[in-house]
């Protein structure tokens, strides 16, 4: 038997009470670690001197895409600091299980709609509520999303994969089992490359690779809402049966920063593919981390699983906390229990979930109601097959959109920006688009635009904790401002002043602000020469110093002239005039 049906196609007499289907239907080297990683800025990890390192070979180290890859970054950083007496070296090992909700109109096995924050139990089909006699029908869109994601993550796509039932009793799991892919998942053996920043100024990006064990299709559960006051549990099944991609990352990471950066990269890939909205705040991307520590060269330690990691920041914090907790525990003669822990956001620590039932036996069993999922490629596609009933891997490969790594490379090549700048542009939601819109409308040099967007613009956003979409400054306004700067109509310090005005959201254009505040540069050479002359006469001592050869004295004179022009003169011009006048 092969892949046959997709989610309910066409109108049917049964479907009145159900919403119509919306989709067409159907061990690397041990890492070293002594201290927890320090705080992350922006979205790519910073490897602070001495804080976080693993020997895992960075991929593509010969690639000239990666600048400034110094040998320093390759050395075990802990040697940079002298170990204190009696201190052991610890290595941490981190693996991740990531659940990404598939972006699809309908659920994995039923025709009910997928929507966040709909009224409770308003998106529940008979199958989702596990009414007796209902059967799963595979949603084609979800399979395509899994194949796309697998291809983007360099996975081997299994031409045949199987579904299994995983049993456990929980109120928000109406069938008493979850349909997943335990034995033979849809995609295996992939890799994810992400970049961590290193070096003194955090200005070098080092590519790291984490292996992807597998990607499996599975159902999401419903949500339980515990009302402790009335000791009630309320169940919302809107989420029950939504398609998930479980992406299993091998334990190739060594600290919270690496894990966070890998997750961020995965998030960008999923969003670029459109296979998941991957919004962690809405639970579309959920991460569990498996963490252990050991002495390098010795067997891996007992691992714990940390759950409830619902933001990238907390993910990094939780992992680093847990690593340090395990080290402390072991150094104090304690032992690590193989347990599930949850991260408490307010306290910033992990706590045992104290699973009373102890070890769960999920009693896996093949799902008898779904035939094996068979995929085809150009060579295996049966002649005359109904395109609605088969999925062609090669066809999906052709439609893959540009991935973030390629976008970054293009940015580097096209605009000559540093690789780490391209990372920042992609990591901030909407920033790349903003940047590209400014570029489109301005005559200014791309480097100038990059600098303004990444330093000034992003700086303002961060300071006020705003998203790009909430910015008071539009790309057009910034473009106009940069044009004024480019044409030397205003000085760069005046430009900063204009930008500050723009941020006030008063609806004025940069041109209006410049003329209102009289920020134009003085273009009148004669007037400027006159001013310089007056300043020199008023400060003979400084002129003397210049003539004696004190270079800083020139700057003082320039400053004085600028002050006299209310900063409206170009310092380069002033310097030229002064030098001429003093015959230097």
């Amino acid at each position: 038997m092969h892949f046959r049906n997709y989610a309910s196609q066409g109108a049917s007499r049964h479907s009145e009470a159900e919403s119509p289907d919306q989709d067409s239907g159907v061990t690397m080297a041990a890492p070293m670690l002594r201290w927890g990683c320090r705080g992350r800025r922006w979205a790519f990890a910073r490897v602070d001197g001495g804080s976080c390192h693993r020997r895992g070979a960075p991929t593509g180290s010969t690639s000239n895409r990666i600048r400034g890859q110094s040998s320093v970054a390759q050395q075990p950083l802990h040697t940079a600091q002298k170990p204190r007496k009696g201190e052991h070296k610890w290595a941490a090992v981190v693996g991740l299980e990531i659940h990404a909700q598939i972006s699809s109109n309908s659920k994995l096995f039923s025709g009910s709609q997928v929507r966040f924050s709909a009224p409770p139990n308003s998106l529940v089909s008979f199958f989702d509520a596990s009414l007796p006699g209902t059967l799963p029908v595979l949603n084609r869109r979800c399979v395509e999303a899994a194949v796309m994601t697998g291809l983007a993550l360099n996975c081997h796509i299994n031409k045949k994969s199987l579904f299994d039932r995983k049993h456990y009793f929980y109120a928000d799991l109406p069938a008493g089992y979850q349909i997943t892919q335990q034995r033979l998942p849809i995609a295996v053996n992939g890799s994810l490359i992400y970049g961590v920043c290193a070096g003194k100024k955090q200005s070098q990006v080092i590519p790291k690779m984490v292996r992807i064990k597998q990607i499996q299709l599975e159902q999401d559960s419903g949500k339980s809402l515990h009302d402790d006051l009335r000791s009630q549990t309320l169940i919302d099944l809107n989420r029950a049966g939504v398609g998930l991609l479980e992406v299993v990352l091998e334990p190739d990471m060594s600290c919270g920063e690496e894990a966070a950066t890998a997750v961020r990269e995965l998030q960008l890939i999923l969003q670029a593919l459109g296979t998941s909205q991957a919004n962690m705040a809405e639970g579309q991307l959920r991460v569990d981390a498996n963490i252990s520590v050991h002495h390098p060269g010795e067997p891996l330690g007992v691992r714990t699983e940390v759950k409830n990691l619902n933001s990238i920041r907390f993910l990094a914090k939780a992992i680093d906390y847990e690593i340090q907790r395990q080290i402390n525990e072991l150094e104090n003669g304690g032992e690590i229990l193989n347990e599930t822990r949850s991260f408490h956001q307010k306290l910033g620590c992990t706590m045992s979930m104290r699973d009373k039932e102890g070890k769960q036996d999920y009693r896996f069993m093949p799902e008898p109601n779904l035939p094996p999922l068979v995929l085809y490629d150009a060579t295996s596609l049966p002649a005359g097959a109904d395109p609605q009933q088969v999925i062609n891997i090669d066809q999906i490969r052709e439609t893959l959109p540009e991935l973030p790594s390629v976008t970054r490379e293009k940015l580097v090549q096209q605009y000559g920006m540093l690789l780490e700048h391209s990372f920042t542009l992609l990591n901030e939601v909407g920033l790349l688009e903003f940047f590209q819109n400014v570029i489109k409308e301005t005559r200014a040099e791309p480097k100038k635009v990059t600098s303004w967007v990444l330093n000034t613009f992003l700086g303002y956003l961060k300071q006020q904790n705003l998203a790009v979409s909430e910015s008071p400054v539009t790309p057009s306004a910034l473009a106009e401002l940069l044009d004024l700067l480019d044409s030397r109509t205003i000085s760069s310090s005046a430009a900063k002043q204009v930008f500050k005005e723009l941020w006030k959201r008063e609806g004025k254009t940069p041109g209006q602000i410049v003329s209102e505040k009289q920020l134009e540069l003085m273009q009148d050479q004669g007037a400027l020469e006159q001013l310089c002359h007056s300043v020199m006469e008023a400060h003979p001592q400084v002129v003397m110093d210049v003539k004696k050869g004190n270079p800083r004295a020139v700057n003082k004179l320039i400053g004085l002239v600028r002050k006299a022009t209310q900063s409206r003169a170009d310092p380069v011009m002033i310097k030229e005039i002064l030098e001429k006048k003093m015959s230097l």
Binding site: S8, A17, L131, P132, G133, G176
Partner: protein, 528 residues
């Protein structure tokens, strides 16, 4: 009119000899008269009468929907019926009213059939007697037949007639009794290990199990998903073919239905000649427990084919003896899984205990399921434990493959149809039957039938003759996968040769009041 076959009454409806409403009322009145058989759990009188009214309009306007328009049918109470309680004969689902129709039910209704009611069964179809449901056992109409009663009068040992009633077999015993007692013309059963064929054999009916994947399971409350098939119970092979014609075909709601085109409708040619047929007699089916009467009929049937020119050969299905154990492991494992949804949260029974969710689950499931269901859940979960999975479940799956291959090999060797007994013997009295527990009974009674389910093949039980006691005995034909039509064609030829007698319930019908009075007396005396 009630004693006719579906095809005959369909013709009568078309010719206007009777109207759907008249027919419906006659059946409803007979359902009331035979209430003591306990064939129905729910009688959907109002629904049926309304459907009859609509059917009547269609006939008047010359817009009949076909052979099934206006035909009273019954449906086993493990098929979802929209707006009609569906209990699986379990406390767990008492009061559960599904919001949707099973695909097979919907298809019958779309063809104009009248739904008389939901028929009794063993709880969740787990049993072979129709004795283990919360609504009590089903009585075999043959217990009250002239043929059986006369034989019993001759037997000096028999005395207490009324407590000596016979089981129907199961688990679709309610459906079998309903058709056998003329309360409807066809009924849906389900067949996981023989649950349609077994009661058909005991009640003198045609019991057909289609190929797995030919008929949708959507809405059939599962026992074992990988073996369940909706079954058809009728008075003759042609009737089964008519119903199959209405049911067969792919269903977008059941991913295990096949898309390959099947010959429709299932019109069965009358075979004039069986000389090109090869009938296989599996030697492993000759077991010591087989009653001599059944054995003798089996060999007479083989002789009949041979004498009419068919090639009859002994064949071997070498893994047969492992089949029932293998079935037990696979069945209980799926049962453990399928029953997990009955937790009292969304629908069905919920206990009064609310100290914790876990305590609620436990009490609900203890109160909701009988011992048989709980026992199967327990053993199934045992087989699925991580430490046991390889040794039991995986091994059983491998054996299942070997069993399926046995059939493939036999059919590849040129055999068209296999001929076997359906049951070890004729129906036994209830008091006799309950001397053994459900598990023992099931493994005895499913012996000839469950291997077919493991292989997904079509099979049909055909009533052959009456035993010395005046009770029906059936034989089973097994066909190649998706060669359902060929199988039924052979069965039809055989049916014509054996001329199985019609059940004589005249005495029961006349006697009905007496039987009912007796029952009344019994209940009164119990109260005193």
């Amino acid at each position: 009119m009630l004693g006719r076959t579906l095809r005959e009454v369909s013709a009568a409806l078309k010719q206007g000899q009777i109207t759907p409403t008249e027919l419906c009322q006659k059946c409803l009145s007979l359902i009331k008269k035979t209430k003591f058989l306990n064939a129905y759990i729910t009688v959907s009188e109002e629904v049926a009468l309304k459907q009859a009214e609509e059917s009547e309009k269609r006939y008047k306007n010359g817009q009949s929907l076909g052979d099934l328009d206006g035909i009273p049918i019954a449906v086993k109470d493990n098929f979802s019926t929209s707006g009609i309680e569906t209990t699986c004969a379990s406390n767990m689902l008492k009061g559960y009213i599904p919001p949707y129709n099973a695909t097979v039910v919907q298809k019958l209704l779309d063809q104009g059939a009248l739904l008389m009611g939901k028929t009794n069964l063993d709880e969740f179809a787990m049993g072979s007697g129709s004795t283990d449901g919360v609504f009590g056992p089903v009585k075999n109409p043959w217990s009250y037949s002239k043929q059986y009663r006369e034989k019993r009068k001759q037997n000096p040992h028999s005395k207490n007639e009324d407590s000596d009633w016979l089981i129907t077999g199961g688990s679709s015993g309610g459906s079998a009794a309903a058709v056998s007692a003329f309360t409807c013309y066809a009924a849906l059963g389900s067949d996981t290990g023989g649950s349609t064929r077994n009661p058909a054999a005991h009640c003198g009916l045609v019991g057909f199990k289609p190929s797995y994947g030919l008929v949708s399971r959507h809405g059939l409350i599962p026992l074992v998903n990988s073996m369940d098939v909706p079954g058809i119970l009728t008075r003759c092979v042609d009737d089964a073919a008519i119903v199959l014609g209405a049911l067969a075909g792919p269903d977008p709601r059941d991913s295990t239905t096949v898309h390959d085109p099947i010959n429709k409708p299932f019109m069965l040619p009358s075979l004039a000649d069986v000389s090109k047929l090869c009938i296989g007699i599996p030697k492993e089916y000759l077991v010591p427990e087989l009653s001599s009467e059944v054995q003798s009929l089996w060999s007479k049937a083989a002789d009949l084919f041979e004498s009419e020119g068919a090639k009859v050969i002994e064949v071997s299905l070498p893994h047969t003896s492992y089949s029932i154990v293998c079935y037990h492991v696979l069945c209980t494992s799926e049962v453990a899984s399928n029953m997990a949804r009955f937790d009292g949260l969304q629908y069905g029974h919920r206990c009064d205990i609310d100290v914790s969710t876990e305590a609620m689950y436990a009490a609900t499931r203890r109160e909701g399921f009988n011992d048989v269901v709980r026992g199967r859940i327990l053993s199934g979960n045992y087989f699925l434990l991580k430490e046991n999975y390889e040794n039991y479940f995986v091994k059983a799956q491998k054996v299942r493959r070997l069993i399926a291959n046995d059939f493939v090999n036999v059919f590849n060797s040129g055999v068209d149809v296999l001929l076997t007994p359906t049951t070890l013997s004729e129906a036994v009295p209830y008091l006799e039957f309950i001397k053994e527990d459900n598990r023992t009974r099931s493994s005895q009674d499913d012996i000839f039938t469950q291997a077919v389910n493991m292989a997904g093949l079509p099979a049909v039980s055909i009533p052959v003759a009456l035993s010395n006691q005046g009770l029906p005995i059936g034989l089973q034909f097994i066909g190649r996968a998706f060669c359902d039509q060929q199988l039924l064609t052979v069965a039809k030829w055989f049916e014509k040769q054996v001329e199985f007698p019609v059940i004589q319930l005249q005495e029961l019908m006349d006697d009905c009041s007496a039987v009912l009075e007796n029952e009344k007396l019994a209940s009164v005396s119990l109260k005193q």
